[in-house]
Symmetry: C2
Subunit: 110 residues, 2 copies
DNA sequence: TAATGCACTCACTTAAAAGTAAGGGGAGGA
DNA sequence: TCCTCCCCTTACTTTTAAGTGAGTGCATTA
């Protein structure tokens, strides 16, 4: 018996709301990446947080994790088909956020 | 010298990301409300969190706080004109979140 | 006189998120 | 042989967010 305890806006905030999740997704939109690539692209993230956030996103079905049984093993993270449905949402959020940052800048400059 | 340190998506998440903020805004979209009204409409929020979130939203320019110097003083919170620009964003977020909740429900039911 | 309503604030505690540092297992290279 | 790379996990600490409970000042109501 599962029922929705959260408001849908909170659901989305929960999915995107980790400190590094927007950045991770930003890089995965471009192309799939390996753990190490993401570490390099996001310099300040710790390995712990990167793997935790990737597991969160995987659990939500946003990213796919593909293991190539090569030697050494290669693990690739990519945006799933379902994850791609987040792109237009992120664009709207991004547009508002950009405008808000500008607004705050003007405010503090005045 | 202020520069944007945050990605715009994070900015939006910061603005909406408090535990009770989406709920507060949801009620203010409908009509302006007094402190007490909001307390009744959101039964589990504490006075501290309600006033803290209202102050956050006010600082970001999302809500207006109007004090009527009557006796007893009456304080009304309403969505500002700027705050109304959040409505379409919230709708997009909401639609995605609703779909995600359904998806998770199905998943756990299977 | 005492109690209630309004709109809060303050001090303190608890819980959740993030950061830090170290380790591990297996293969290839110096 | 020892080091390095890859992809993490674990234990511990710090920081941040949220919850708890009491108190404030003024005025009306019972």
């Amino acid at each position: 018996m599962i029922h929705q305890r959260e408001c849908p806006v909170e659901t989305l905030i929960h999915v995107l709301g980790g400190k590094w999740k927007p950045m991770i997704l930003w890089h995965l939109i471009e192309s799939s990446k390996r753990f190490n690539d993401l570490e390099k692209l996001i310099p300040d993230v710790s390995q712990k947080m990167l793997s935790q956030h990737l597991r969160d996103l995987e659990r939500e079905g946003i990213v796919d994790r593909t293991i190539y049984p090569t030697i050494p093993p290669k693990v690739e993270y990519s945006l799933s088909e379902y994850g791609k449905t987040l792109i237009p949402v992120a664009e709207v959020m991004c547009a508002w956020g950009e405008n808000h940052n500008k607004r705050k800048y003007k405010e503090s400059a005045s």
